[in-house]
Amino acid sequence: MSFEWPWQYNFPPFFTLQPNVDTRQKQLAAWCSLTLSYCRHHKLYTLDIMEAQESPVFNHKNIDRKLSMEAILIVFEELRKKGNLEWLDKNKTRCLVMWRRPEEWGKLIYQWVSKNGMVNTVFTLYELANGDDTESEEFHGLEDWMLIRSLQALQMDGKAEVISMDDGKGVKFF
């Protein structure tokens, strides 16, 4: 299934940061949703800002428009405020994109666990993210850092406990 671009993507002003405050808010909201859905479609978890600038999202070759670095940073900052992005370094060159926030992932995982009657069972992280049982689930292939965060979020709610095991980590659901 190919990625479906929003209408704004073919609208040249989309690639110019709008000076009108109201217009800019709507523009940024559209950029945030495009960035997240693009990452989700391609299962991207980390972005390098230099690479991002050249990626089709921010560089639409057909209409010869490019979002400036300054504008990309503003979009990313907007995403960070909404809790969908975290910088990996102080210089803001790499970031984690969370098109689903840890709590949301946690919820998904817990739903799957309880649906399959596996509450009170212990899983290794590998089993959860890469095991055969979860192949059809959205969280299949989730990167480790994200998985741990999601489980930690569940732990905060008292629904799981991350435990250390011989070869890495495991989790028990309640």
């Binding site: 209408w7 040249p12 690639f15 709008q18 009108n20 109201d22 217009t23 709507k26 559209a30």
Partner: protein, 351 residues
């Protein structure tokens, strides 16, 4: 190079040697060829001295109750001297007394002219235009042009000739350009008695009167231009119409600021970018914005230049309209290497 005006200074009294001349305060003009003193009110009363006539001159500093002066020593006047207000004098010098200052700069320019002797390199082609004879000349020229233009109109209206004229681009162009010049001459003749500081004093009263006069003369040109003119354009137009009595930019702005309090149908408007325009009061903002939006929607997108062509406005003003519509959220921009282009604000309407 012909004779040109170097500097002029108002508020100068003449001394015939040591005696106060029996003349009023006047204006002193320095050209590349002559030194001219002219009565402020009676422009016919005028004294001109060729610079070649000057032997030397000196400054006389101001004292308590005394204005600074420049003393000018002259050769004996030539026998063929034209008659003037002062036929003869027992002194070989006269003094310029600067009541409203300006003597330092005037002295400097006079020194410059006398050392450069520009009058030697170029013959004096014509007397410096004093108000009276420039008016006469101007009117003469205008009459000729009026005659010529009316002739053209008569030609145009005759049916036999019109097809011949219209098929000849050169003739068409001549007709067109003469019509434009005709218009500009009509404007030049516009202000018969301009409001000046000399007629209305300085300060608020002057600006009030000036604002009223501006209100009268700007209505027609504003209507012709779609209700809005850049202040620079107004400045040129007004000063062309005033002829000799040029208006300073500050006076123009100050007078325009009074439009509102005088309840005149004009307004001075300052855009966010700092561009100042004079507009008709009836010229509503909403209309301007909706016309910008309509045009942009119609064409898909527009640059300021394209919009200017559509409206027949200046690029500066059409850009202001687009920016205004953008500010109100009706348009948005695409700023690329190809330039600044405005689009309907789909972010608002399609979201």
């Amino acid at each position: 190079m012909n004779e040109t005006l170097v500097i002029q200074q108002r508020g100068v009294k003449l001394y015939d040697g040591e005696d106060k001349a029996k003349l009023d305060v006047g204006i002193v003009l320095l050209s590349t060829h002559q030194l001219i003193w002219r009565d402020l009110k009676n422009h016919e009363c005028c004294i001109a001295i060729p610079l070649s006539q000057i032997i030397y001159f000196e400054e006389q500093a101001a004292g308590i109750g005394k204005s600074a002066k420049i003393v000018v020593h002259l050769h004996a006047s030539p026998a063929n001297k034209e008659p003037g207000p002062y036929q003869q004098s027992k002194f070989s010098y006269f003094k310029l007394s600067f009541k409203e200052h300006g003597q330092i700069e005037f002295f400097r320019r006079l020194t410059e002219e006398l050392s450069q002797k520009r009058w030697e390199s170029t013959p004096m082609s014509q007397p410096i235009p004093t108000a009276t004879n420039s008016q006469v000349r101007g009117r003469h020229r205008t009459d000729n042009l009026l005659y010529y233009t009316l002739l053209c109109y008569t030609l145009l209206s005759s049916a036999i000739l019109s097809s011949a004229i219209l098929s000849s681009p050169v003739l068409c162009y001549t007709l067109l350009s003469s019509t434009i010049r005709f218009k500009s001459y009509l404007l030049s003749m516009g202000i018969a008695n301009p409001v000046t500081r000399e007629t209305h004093g300085s300060g608020t009263h002057y600006h009030l009167q000036l604002a009223k006069q501006l209100g009268d003369i700007l209505l027609a040109p504003l209507e012709e231009r779609g209700g809005m003119m850049a202040l620079t354009e107004v400045y040129c137009l007004v000063n062309r119409a005033r002829g000799m009595e040029l208006l300073s930019p500050e006076d123009l702005v100050n007078a325009c600021k009074l439009f509102e309090s005088l309840k005149l149908p004009l307004r001075l408007r300052i855009f966010d970018s700092g561009v100042m325009v004079v507009q008709l009061q009836s010229h509503s903002e909403e209309e301007m914005i909706s016309s910008a939006l309509d045009n942009v929607t119609d064409k898909g997108s527009l640059t300021a230049e394209e919009f200017a062509k559509l409206l027949g406005l200046s690029v500066l003003l059409s850009k202001e309209r687009l920016l205004l519509a953008e500010k109100m959220g009706h348009l948005c921009r695409d700023d690329s290497v190809e330039g600044l282009r405005f689009y309907p604000n789909l972010f608002n309407s399609q979201a």
